[in-house]
Amino acid sequence: MILKILKRVVSYLLVLLGLSVFVFILVRVMPGDTARLALGPRAPEETVQALRREMHLDKSIPVQYYYWLKGILQGDLGTSVISKRPITEDIAFYLPATVELALLSAIFMATFGILLGVTATKYSEKWPDAIIRVLSYLGIVAPAFLWAVLAMLLFAYLIPILPVSGRISAGIAPPVTRTGLYIVDYLLQGNFAGAWDAFRHLVMPAIVLSFGGISQSARICRASMVSNMEKPYAAAERAYGIPENKILYKYLLKPSLNSFISVTALDIAMLFGGAYLVESIFNYPGLSRYGLTAMLNKDVFAVSAVMLVDGVIVIGFNLVTDIIISFLDPRIRYSSST
């Protein structure tokens, strides 16, 4: 079992190395003179040359890669052209915001996904199932940015009950940073009003972001539960007179969770990078918006850092999912001990 996990870890590390090469090449073919862009068109040539040397941009591509990778291993991702400060500082600010958003979306995704999935199973082929089916199509057919726009129209103009921009309201001091997650930080400080405010700012982008995922996880949850429902053990449980809800939530849900978890986990991992437009539209200071700005401004080191971070998150999620699934499924859990 442990050996199996170790093997996975090694293979994921290899993918990570490949990812670093890929990201580096991708970003290096971006046209534009990084040093010149950093200093502006009017900066004297000597200053630009000096910066080019400092960034190792005057060396060959493999050598540049070496320095870049070495920097990363030492925790140095370079300096951003836009913010003009170390990219690690930028990431330290933007990543927690995205994590907070993604976590809340993930909670929505899992809760509503399971609830809707189970309800659809319970009323399979009846009208609640049909409604859920339609809802789940809605989540899939429109990209998050469309929902963001519509949600904005709805909540900002027609029923203005939720804030539409930023992480906290104007005039509220941000919390003392402990985790970087505002809600948690406010709670740690005992500032419940602050936590509530931060939560209200998060709700709309989180719902919008999780909409597609909810649809998908509800569909998958329903599909695998319906197929388990036909298995003899479900019929047996029903024959014993076990209440329907108990059968659903206790005996059917768990074996149906495997495919649900593997799909939903990937969806959640994708949330970290997929929030581009949602973050932009809600003016939410997250990593994706930062990445998009970096791309438009040809901030190559920042782009590569964002892509790397996103890649690490996805790979990490895959690894964790593998482990969780192998723990959940006794066939896999016990396979190595036999």
Partner: protein, 304 residues
Amino acid sequence: MESCPNKIDISQVDVSRIPRRNAGENIRKLWYKFSLNRVSVVGLALILLIAAAAIFYRSIVPYPEHIGAMVDFKNACMPPSWQHLCGTDQAGRDILSRIIYAFRGALTMGVVAILAILPLGGVLGLVAGYWNGRFVSNLIMRVADVFLSLPTLILVMCVSSIMTPSTRNAMLAISISWWPWYTRLVYGIVTSTRNEVYIRSAEVLGANVWHILLKEILPNALGPILTKMTLDFGVAILAGATLSFVGMGEQPPAPSLGAMVSAGVGYLPDQWWMAVFPALAIMLIVLGFNLLGDGIGDMLSDAE
């Protein structure tokens, strides 16, 4: 699976001589299964309708000149009326005409981007699956893993931010980012059928590797590929719309749905029609492909 009874025969009989069922009958049977699901038929009708509108746009659009280099600021931002059913945009152009024309770009975007990568992704998957465990297989699948470890949207955006914004480059960016999904899909199917008796038999008979790959293994993968493709047309259209939403797609004056939404967002809520109608158009086209994809999926899985 229809080939099951033939499995044993295959080692004795010339493959090409297996009596094949009448193709027409097959299609009729599939269509019957497909048509049982009303929703899927709606999806098919939707797609056919949109495709027809896109192809014959010249005779449908109320204001053909509003698609090209034309501005009429006197009539900018007019609300929906009988003259302009969906209103006019910031340059006074008829939004309905532009939506109909934009269907062309959206359909092309989805269909071309996915069709273009199918041969590449598919062949790589076949190769990796057939020689599973060998170096070449590992290489292909690890490279695919690298691509898949990045959220698709980020990859698409990063690739297209390198190039000059245009429809062609947006499609290219989508193709570059998308192929590993097909490689992985085909790989999975190939590895699971790789050790079936009929494949082994064909090998023993000394069949050409490509014959085995294309004639014996590939047909198994066609169903899932077709289903995924239909669904992916929709997803690729969304990706394309997202790209043009941030200005990395079709350039003005040619209309594109994402860019129209993006332009319209700044005019919310007063000129709501500028964002809402193109947004509905995106939903409609993607909904069509989703319903159709689900229908095809059900049809083929029922067939088994």
